[in-house]
């Protein structure tokens, strides 16, 4: 089968998988004005459980892994996060009609990682029996924090240049890092990781976190779909180029991630599934923890621009591109 028909068939197959169906379902009911909604407390709990699950799974696997084989992918993840933001700061942020801070903040979100997109990819790989190293999801913070830090530093440097003379205080990177780590999403992931690493959570992992994973993810997709539709209105208020960036960005970033993942495959033997997950993380844009970090640190940027672009278009496009990377992997690695 040639690459194109491989992609087409994987794509059609995945569209039928429930996870994406729930995303579209959420958009649909929002578009039809339904009053169906998921209570906030449930949504927050689902996020915590999914991230604990991802962390626990990764932690359990890291125990068995060699540290060396982890190091290269971690560095690649951080490079990807940095590079995506730099690209955005030279392309989107320099486009006429786009305020520099808005552009950089948007690039920051697209460089960072969406936990829900990552979770969907994990489910799709499992369903397609494409194996991956259990610790790959633990690369998330490396890419995520790198992207947010770079975006915030670029924006603050820019503001400082404008306000030159007014009370020069240094840009401190460390508080941005700790603030990110303290957010509920990364905290849950890391907590799971530590418990998975140091304790023996296999029993509760297999009796609770693992079986509930897919079901809770389907509810999360519903919420994401509703939100994606509701934010479309905001996006209409900002320049068109955001929509273009939000469509093209995820695919370009994902393919970049795939390429660097291939390097990790050649150097330290990263599995085909691992390469796909790296591509997915690069292609995804942060939805839960990135936005508040950016709003607090770049108050001058317009949140409608970057959040609208990310939630309404970036995340759906990133989710729809997962089958692309899977098809690529099947084609290249013949898995």
């Amino acid at each position: 089968m040639d690459l194109f028909s491989e992609i087409a068939s994987t794509f059609i197959g995945q569209l039928q998988k429930p996870t994406l169906a729930f995303l579209f379902g959420g958009m649909l009911i929002a578009a039809l004005g339904s009053r169906l909604e998921i209570p906030d407390a449930i949504y927050r709990f689902i996020v915590v459980v999914l991230l604990l699950k991802i962390g626990l799974g990764a932690g359990i696997e890291i125990r068995k892994a060699e540290i060396a084989s982890l190091l290269v992918p971690a560095i690649i993840a951080a490079i990807l996060g940095t590079f995506i933001v730099l690209v955005g700061s030279f392309s989107l942020a320099k486009t006429p009609g786009v305020k520099y801070e808005d552009g950089v903040a948007t690039a920051g979100l697209f460089g960072a990682v969406s936990a829900s997109t990552l979770a969907v990819a994990m489910v799709m790989l499992e369903q397609s029996d494409i194996p991956f190293e259990g610790w790959v999801p633990a690369l998330y913070p490396f890419m995520d924090i790198a992207a947010l830090v770079v975006a915030i530093v670029l924006a603050q440097l820019h503001v400082r240049k404008k306000d030159a003379g007014k009370g020069e205080k240094g840009i401190r990177v460390w508080p941005i890092v700790t603030e990110s780590l303290r957010g509920s999403a990364l905290s849950a992931l890391l907590l799971g990781l530590v418990i998975g690493l140091l304790a023996r959570p296999e029993s509760v992992y297999e009796s609770f976190y693992e079986p509930l994973f897919r079901g809770l993810l389907s509810i999360l997709m519903l919420v994401m779909g509703i939100e994606a539709y509701s934010r479309l209105a905001e996006l209409r208020r900002v320049a068109h180029v955001y929509a273009v960036y939000a469509v093209v960005g995820p695919v370009v970033h994902g393919l970049l991630g795939f390429a660097l993942g291939y390097v990790a495959h050649l150097t330290v033997g990263l599995s085909p599934g691992g390469v796909v997950l790296l591509a997915v993380m690069a292609g995804s844009s942060s939805d839960i923890s990135g936005p508040p970090t950016l709003r607090a640190a770049i108050p001058g940027a317009n949140p409608s621009a970057y959040i609208g672009a990310s939630t309404s278009i970036g995340t759906p496009v990133a989710l729809l591109s997962i089958p692309l990377y899977m098809a690529l992997a099947e084609y290249i690695f013949s898995v």
Partner: protein, 104 residues
């Protein structure tokens, strides 16, 4: 026997709470209450109990009662012109009558 006092009310998104708290504390107002809410403003609509993907953007109301009008005005000014300069949110004052002076 009631004592005249001033209630400062602030509506902000949750991620600004630490900032509001810092300003209150800087004027010695270490007591306040918070309430979950939703709303519609210049910027967007916030549901008050449906899932909002970014929890830190949900609406919170802060109420702090202080005895001195001057303190209340200083706090309101700082919140309006420092904390909320580039952010969405509103501030207002109301006269109230409290009982038990020592509690404020």
């Amino acid at each position: 026997m009631t004592i005249a006092a001033i209630k400062i009310s602030v509506i902000v998104e949750r991620f600004l709470l630490p900032e509001v708290e810092r300003i209150l504390a800087s004027e010695g107002a270490n007591r306040y209450s918070t309430y979950p809410g939703g709303g519609k403003g210049e910027h967007s609509t916030h549901p008050f109990d449906a899932a909002s993907v970014v929890r830190e953007f949900s609406i919170v109301k802060v109420e702090a009662i202080v005895l001195e009008r001057a303190t209340a005005e200083r706090i309101a000014d700082k919140i309006a012109y420092e904390c909320l300069k580039d952010q969405s949110g509103i501030v207002w004052l109301e006269g109230v009558e409290v009982l038990r002076r020592n509690k404020f």
